[in-house]
Every structure is written in structure tokens, then in C-alpha cells.
């Protein structure tokens, strides 16, 4: 007799996303060891001899045997930059999501015991979050004298704080709903304190939402970092030289590479295509995990429409 294994909804997506994320994490950890060049090495002009004839190759160089992903317009090897930048992209997303979730749970649960969330100031006068961040980072990021690690940490904290309402609101709303349940009322009438109610009666119900929220916040963080990159605000700092006018990401994080290479869209489209594909790989890994989780919960709690 064959026993059919019951598959949980979304397991495939979750596994594929998880595997992709693990692979990217490995690249982030060990990538610099396998980088073909140093991140400071550049060759804007290269001399090659083909069949006894000497030729000059100018940057940007298309992908080839010496530079598998080509070089940018200043002669830096793109594969090397990607291998060095991966850790900053992943670390930033992870740290922002951890901070948002920790603070969001703390503030959301505490506030949810008393009142439901309000939507009074959610629009911020039509100013998007990344514009607010541009104003905060502008005086710090360009040709910064701050150590890269300190600037990176400051940027991560600011990005986390700007998106905090996005976590507080759902947590507060769910806590408010749960705090009106009969068993919570019963615990309260027995004299149980707020802290214990939150820890023993409300948090266990939020645990399932936490993973989903965490992955969603990683996606939001990545999108926000990408939007900042469009305005040349790079994580870890932007190096600006006046003559010639050049803009570099100090850390070579992937969204920054997209931002700095976007001007080459009409002359060398492949130059933008490579960091953009790397960025999409990260996003896809988060998205697949998120979709897997959503599918799992939907299958678990789904109802059937009557019409």
C-alpha cells in the first residue's frame, strides 16, 4: 500500500527561497576569498597581444576570460565588486529586519494592550520614506570622514526607525484584538500583570506572524536601500570626486552598484544588467520565502467563497 505524503502548501517556494538565501549568505561570507582581484584594483586601459598585434582595451570591458562579468567604466572588476559587496547588502537587510521586528513587537504589543492603532499620520504629508532618509543621510554620506562601520550602523538604524510604523501597526492591531479575548480577561481578573499577559498569552499567538513579518521587512529594507541608491546615497558612504565627476559606493553593496551604473543604460546596457540581476536574486530569495509562508498560512486558514 502506498501512503500519499501530504504536502504542505508553499513548501516548494519556501525551500527554493531558503536555498537561494543560503547560497547568497555563503557568497557573502566567503566571496572575498575567491575574488579574482582586490576591490581597489582597476585597469581602465589594458594592453593585449592577439596574433602578434598589440591592442588597447578601454573600460568598460565586456565579460570575457580575464573579467568574467566585465569591468565598470573605471576599470574595476564587476565580479570582485559583487563578491565584496554582498555581505553589506545582506547584513543591512537582516539588521534592519531584526531591529524593526524587535522594536515593533515591543512598542506594538505595549500599545496594543491599551488602544487600537490610528492611521492619523501615516501619509507624512506625501513625503515618501526614502526621501526623508535622503535628507537625513545627505550631510553624512557623501565623502564622509566617518568610519565605514559607524556610518553603516547609523544608516541601518535610521532605515529601521523610518519603517517602524509598518511593523507596529499590525502588531498593535493584533494585540488589541487578542487582549479582548476571554482567556485574557480571565487572566486579568485573576490579577495577572500586563507583562505576564503579553509574554504568556499574547506573544505565543504572534509568533507565527513574526517570521512572515521578518521576511517582509527584509524585502522592504532592500527596496529602500535600492531607492536610496538611485539618488546616490549608498550604504557605508559615497565617494564623490569633482574632476572627473565620479561617484562610487564605498562598500560596493549591490543596490549601490545598481545606482552608480544606471547612467550607462543606453551606451552599455549589460553593465547595469549584471548588478541588477544580483539585486533581483536577493529579492527573489526573500520573496520566495515570503510567498511560501503566505501560501502555508492561507492553506491552513483558508475559507471557501460562497459565490
Amino acid at each position: 500500500m502506498t501512503v500519499k505524503r501530504r504536502r504542505h502548501g508553499g513548501a516548494g517556494e519556501f525551500l527554493a527561497g531558503g536555498l537561494l538565501f543560503c547560497l547568497l549568505a555563503l557568497v557573502a561570507f566567503f566571496g572575498p576569498r575567491f575574488a579574482p582581484f582586490s576591490p581597489d584594483f582597476s585597469e581602465s586601459i589594458r594592453r593585449v597581444t592577439v596574433e602578434g598585434e598589440t591592442r588597447l582595451i578601454f573600460a568598460p570591458e565586456a565579460p570575457g576570460p580575464r573579467h568574467p562579468l566585465g569591468t565598470d567604466m573605471w576599470g574595476y572588476d564587476l565580479l570582485t565588486l559583487l563578491l565584496y559587496g554582498a555581505r553589506y547588502t545582506l547584513l543591512a537587510c537582516f539588521a534592519v529586519a531584526v531591529l524593526r521586528l524587535a522594536l515593533g513587537l515591543l512598542f506594538g504589543m505595549t500599545a496594543g494592550l491599551r488602544r487600537p492603532p490610528t492611521r492619523r499620520l501615516e501619509s507624512l504629508g506625501g513625503i515618501p520614506a526614502f526621501v526623508l532618509l535622503i535628507f537625513i543621510f545627505h550631510g553624512l554620506t557623501i565623502n564622509s570622514s566617518l568610519p565605514v562601520s559607524r556610518l553603516f550602523a547609523f544608516q541601518v538604524v535610521c532605515i529601521a526607525l523610518v519603517g517602524l510604523p509598518g511593523v507596529i501597526v499590525p502588531v498593535q492591531s493584533r494585540t488589541f484584538y487578542l487582549a479582548r479575548a476571554e482567556y485574557v480577561e480571565a487572566a486579568r481578573s485573576l490579577g495577572v500583570g500586563s507583562l505576564r499577559i503579553l509574554r504568556r498569552h499574547i506573544f505565543p499567538h504572534l509568533r507565527a506572524d513574526c517570521l512572515s513579518l521578518f521576511v517582509t521587512e527584509m524585502i522592504h529594507a532592500l527596496n529602500l536601500i535600492g531607492q536610496l541608491g538611485i539618488f546616490y546615497i549608498f550604504l557605508g558612504g559615497t565617494i564623490l570626486t569633482e574632476s572627473p565627476p565620479l561617484l562610487h559606493s564605498v562598500t560596493h553593496e549591490w543596490a549601490g552598484l545598481v545606482g552608480q551604473l544606471r547612467t550607462k543604460i543606453s551606451s552599455d546596457p549589460w553593465l547595469l544588467f549584471i548588478p541588477l540581476s544580483a539585486y533581483v536574486l536577493v529579492l527573489m530569495s526573500f520573496q520566495l520565502i515570503s510567498q511560501g509562508l503566505d501560501k502555508h498560512y492561507e492553506k491552513k486558514y483558508a475559507r471557501t467563497p460562497y459565490v
Binding site: 520573496q287 460562497y306 459565490v307
Partner: protein, 309 residues
């Protein structure tokens, strides 16, 4: 007998929360605009210079003689009321285009295809929804640039040169609102159609069409109403990115082109507090107009569908 006229003062009193909110946002703009001067770095340390918040007072003083409303844009002197409205109108055009296309595509598709929201096509579309706006714009630009290089035929303009491009910005700006509405409406329609009163209506013998028009559609209006601020903010956020990447001469691009210090980052000129404040006030106006227009449409739908006056 007609109700007595409430008079000007009670009316103003009723408008007070909205006025207070507007005033708060204007103060917020003054605060945000000071941040690049307040948060600085020097000799490896983060430096806060709160004295620069007082620039707001200087700006407000300068409004009386018009000093705060003039600024330099390259070699020209601009006045906020004379020169910026043209850029504002271009931004408004793109915003309204985005709203109209988003509503016209997203609403009917979301409602009509709520049962198929787990289909492959729908899932792929929703996956695209999680990708940032600049990704879609870059993919569109890359596709057009590559096709132009391959065939030599220019299908669409990838940036504004003399005339504002329509096709690519139109697609990029309408895509996300349409997809967002599609997703929200599909989820809301599904949720409503699972309710007990729908089963009750079915049991009483009402037709599917009747249930849809009389029970489900009225339930969707409050969902849409609740999401209007979020939708407006999303469209505005897309506009900032689209104007930057398509080089559209709208108000959001002007802020970055002429407002900031570094010559090579966004353009020329020094950090111009006045220009950025005026630009953000225009952005706030864009937000209010778009929000009002969307609210008007939903109000109209409410009157027709729910017959709520």
C-alpha cells in the same frame, strides 16, 4: 423647514483638525528640510548642529518680502510662484494619469478575478508587485535600449529630452497602483464572499449578479476608502523615482536638480533651503489634490453603489 445656517465660526471650528494637520505637515517640511544641515560629519565624528533648525524662522520672515521664494537654478533666478507651477503641472499630469490607469485596470480586474488569485499568472503578477518601482523602470529602459541597439528602431523614449515621454512613464507609473488595487480588491472580494450573509442571500434565492451588486460591491467601498492615503503615497513615491530615472522635468526632480550642494550629484547650485521647502510644499499640494480626486471618485462610487448620502 431648511436647517439653520451654522455660521462661519462653527464651520471653521469643524475644519480645525484638518487645518491643524495641514499646519503640522508644513512644519514637518520645514523640519525635514533642515536635516542635511543639522546632521553632519566632521573629523570622523557625527555632529549635530540644531541651530540650523532656526533657518525655518528665517524662511518664514523672508516670505513677507518674497526673499524666501526666489532662488537660483543654474544661471537663472527663479520665483516659486512664477517658475515652479509649470513643473508642478507636469508632475500632476503624470500623477493623475497614474491614478486613472491604476483605477481603471486594477479595480475591475481585482474584483473579476478574485477566484483566480492563486493562478500562476496572478501569482507572477503579485511577485512583480514586491519588486521596487525602479526595477520595473530599469527593465523597461533596458529592453527599449537593447531593442534599439539591435534593430535600430526607437520604439519609445527612455528619457525626457525636449518633450515629456508618455509610454514608458505611463506604464511604470500605472503598473504598481493597478497591481496594488488588484491585489487588495481580490483579497477583499474573497473575504466578503466567504461571509455568512452571502450564504444567507444565496439561500434566499437571490441571483449571483444581485448578490454581487447589492452585497459584495458595497462592502468593497470602505476597503478602498481606507487604502486611499496609502495608495496616494505609493503613487507619489513612484513619481519621485520615475522623474529621476526618466529625467522628467517635474517638481520632484527640480528639488534634487537645483536644491542640493554637490555639483555632480544631482545638478548645480548650492543647498537651497527655500527651493526645497517650496518644492516639498508643491509635493504636499500634489498629495492633497490626488487624495482629494481619489476621495471624490470613491465618494461618487459610494453614492451610486451604497446610495449613501
Amino acid at each position: 423647514m431648511p436647517p439653520p445656517n451654522p455660521g462661519l465660526f462653527p464651520r471653521l471650528l469643524r475644519m480645525f483638525p484638518a487645518l491643524a494637520k495641514g499646519l503640522f505637515f508644513l512644519l514637518l517640511i520645514l523640519f525635514i528640510t533642515s536635516l542635511p544641515l543639522v546632521i553632519r560629519q566632521s573629523e570622523g565624528r557625527l555632529v549635530l548642529r540644531p541651530g540650523y533648525f532656526l533657518l525655518a524662522l528665517d524662511f518664514l520672515e523672508g516670505l513677507a518680502d518674497g526673499r524666501s521664494l526666489t532662488f537660483s537654478a543654474g544661471d537663472f533666478r527663479w520665483h516659486a510662484l512664477r517658475d515652479l507651477p509649470a513643473y508642478f503641472l507636469l508632475s500632476l499630469f503624470y500623477l493623475l494619469l497614474s491614478c486613472c490607469c491604476g483605477l481603471l485596470i486594477g479595480l475591475p480586474l481585482g474584483i473579476a478575478r478574485y477566484r483566480r488569485r492563486h493562478s500562476w499568472g496572478q501569482r507572477a503578477l503579485f511577485l512583480l508587485n514586491s519588486f521596487p518601482d525602479f526595477f520595473l523602470i530599469m527593465v523597461l529602459q533596458l529592453t527599449v535600449a537593447s531593442l534599439t541597439q539591435l534593430t535600430g528602431i526607437r520604439i519609445a523614449s527612455i528619457a525626457m529630452v525636449s518633450r515629456p515621454p508618455l509610454l514608458l512613464p505611463g506604464i511604470a507609473l500605472s503598473f504598481y497602483p493597478a497591481l496594488y488595487l488588484m491585489r487588495t480588491m481580490a483579497a477583499a472580494t474573497h473575504e466578503i464572499s466567504c461571509q455568512g450573509y452571502i450564504l444567507c442571500a444565496l439561500a434566499r434565492g437571490f441571483s449571483r449578479r444581485h448578490i454581487f451588486v447589492r452585497e459584495i460591491l458595497p462592502g468593497l467601498v470602505p476597503v478602498l476608502e481606507n487604502d486611499l492615503s496609502k495608495l496616494t503615497l505609493m503613487i507619489l513615491s513612484n513619481l519621485f523615482i520615475a522623474e529621476q530615472l526618466f529625467m522628467l522635468q517635474g517638481i520632484t526632480r527640480i528639488i534634487f536638480l537645483h536644491g542640493f550642494t554637490q555639483r555632480t550629484i544631482y545638478g548645480s547650485g548650492g543647498y537651497q533651503y527655500g527651493l526645497i521647502v517650496c518644492g516639498l510644499v508643491y509635493v504636499f499640494l500634489l498629495y492633497l489634490i490626488t487624495r482629494f480626486a481619489l476621495g471624490l471618485l470613491v465618494g461618487l462610487a459610494k453614492r451610486i453603489i451604497i446610495r449613501d448620502r
